[in-house]
C-alpha cells in the first residue's frame, strides 16, 4: 500500500541526497520497445548497447541495469542509472511462443522465466526515481496493463514520461496516446531509427528536474 511517509522521505532523498545517481526505469507492456530505447540511449551516450532485442515477446526476462549514463542537453547534464525491465503482462501462455518456431521445451522455459520477469519488474517499481513508460504507438493505448502501470506510478508519486514508440510505422497514432494519458508528458519517438530523440532528451530533463 502506498505510504505517505515513505513517499515524503523518497521525495526528500531525491531532492537532496541522491540527485546525481537517480534511477530511471523503462516500463511498459511486452514488445513496446523498452530494450530498443535502452540501447538507443546507451548507444547515444556510451557508444554501446545494453540489452538484446527480439520480435519474440518477453525477450527481456531479467532486470538489466546500466550505471552512470550522462546525458547532456542545452549545456545541462543529467547522470542516472538506466534500468531496463521485463514487459508487464497479465497472462503468459507458452503456446504463444511456439508461433515463433521455438521448441516446446524452449517455449515452456521462456514462459517460466517471463513470469519471474514480470514479478521482478513489479518489485522494482518502488525503487525508481523516474519512469519512462514505453508504449507502442501503433496499438490501442487504453489497455489495462498501461493503465495499471501508470496508476501505480501516480500513487507512488514517481515522475513519468510517456515515450510513444514506433512513430516510423504507418499505423502509429501519437495523438491517441496523448489523449489516453493527458496528465503526463508524452513524446513520439522511433527508438529503432533514433527519430525525435532530441525532443525525448529535452522532455526527460523536464520530467526529472
Amino acid at each position: 500500500m502506498p505510504n505517505p511517509f515513505k513517499d515524503f522521505f523518497d521525495f526528500l532523498t531525491r531532492l537532496f541526497l541522491n540527485k546525481k545517481h537517480i534511477k530511471i526505469g523503462l516500463y511498459g507492456p511486452t514488445n513496446s520497445g523498452k530494450s530498443t530505447l535502452a540501447n538507443r540511449i546507451t548507444k547515444d551516450w556510451l557508444g554501446e548497447e545494453m540489452s538484446s532485442v527480439s520480435r519474440i515477446p518477453h525477450e527481456t526476462r531479467e532486470i538489466i541495469q546500466k550505471e552512470k549514463i550522462t546525458v547532456q542537453h542545452n549545456g545541462k547534464k543529467l547522470t542516472f542509472n538506466l534500468v531496463d525491465t521485463p514487459g508487464i503482462a497479465t497472462k503468459i501462455d507458452y503456446e504463444d511462443f511456439l508461433k515463433y518456431k521455438l521448441s516446446v521445451k524452449e517455449a515452456r522455459e521462456r514462459a517460466k522465466e517471463a513470469t519471474k520477469g514480470v514479478i521482478e519488474s513489479i518489485k522494482w517499481l518502488d525503487s525508481m526515481d523516474c519512469v519512462i513508460v514505453v508504449l507502442d504507438s501503433t496499438i490501442n493505448p487504453y489497455s489495462q496493463v498501461n493503465i495499471t502501470i501508470i496508476g501505480n506510478l501516480a500513487a507512488r508519486k514517481i515522475p513519468v514520461l510517456i515515450a510513444a514508440n514506433k512513430i516510423d510505422l504507418k499505423k502509429s497514432d501519437l495523438k491517441k496516446v496523448e489523449a489516453a494519458f493527458p496528465q503526463y508528458k508524452s513524446v513520439g519517438i522511433s527508438a529503432e531509427y533514433g527519430h525525435n530523440m532530441d525532443d525525448f532528451y529535452k522532455m526527460l530533463f523536464k520530467v526529472v528536474k
Binding site: T90, I92, D93, L125, I147, G151, A155, Q183
Partner: protein, 126 residues
C-alpha cells in the same frame, strides 16, 4: 458455458489485502468471470498481477482484467461532494472485470465502451 459472478463491494470491502487476493484468485481459477462492484485500485491490480504470475502453470495461464474507475476523474465540485458522502456510507464507484485467460481472450476498451471476447471452444468433430 460462461459463469459470470457479481461480487458486491460489501462482500470484499472488509477483507484485508491478502484475503481479498486469495478469494479473487480462487474464484478466477474456478473458471468464473468476476464483476467487482467498486473496482480494484491500481495498487490492488498490480498485486493481483504479481500473485497470479506466481501461480502460472500448464492449466492456469493468467488473467484478463479491466477496471472502469472514477479515480482521478475531473469532476465538478458538487459531484465530488456527492461522491465523498456516498463513500462515507460505504459506496464505491467503478467496477473491475476479471477472468481467467483460458476463457477470456481479450477485454477491449476504448474511452466509451468495454468489450469482452471469450474463447470460442467448439467441440472437435470426431
Amino acid at each position: 458455458m460462461l459463469t459470470l459472478q457479481f461480487i458486491p463491494n460489501t462482500e470484499i470491502a472488509n477483507l484485508d489485502q491478502e484475503s481479498k487476493l486469495r478469494k479473487l484468485i480462487s474464484l478466477i481459477k474456478s473458471d468464473r468471470i468476476l464483476v467487482l462492484e467498486g473496482g480494484l485500485s491500481s495498487y490492488e491490480e498490480m498485486q493481483l498481477i504479481e500473485r497470479t504470475m506466481e501461480q502460472i502453470n500448464k492449466e492456469f495461464r493468467g488473467i484478463e482484467i479491466c477496471t472502469v474507475s472514477s479515480e482521478k476523474r475531473k469532476t465538478e465540485f458538487s459531484t465530488k461532494i456527492k461522491e465523498a458522502i456516498l463513500k462515507a456510507f460505504g459506496y464505491k464507484s467503478g467496477l473491475t472485470i476479471i477472468g481467467p485467460a483460458s476463457i477470456v481472450k481479450e477485454i477491449r476498451r476504448d474511452p466509451t465502451k468495454i468489450e469482452l471476447f471469450a474463447v470460442n471452444k467448439r467441440p472437435r468433430k470426431k
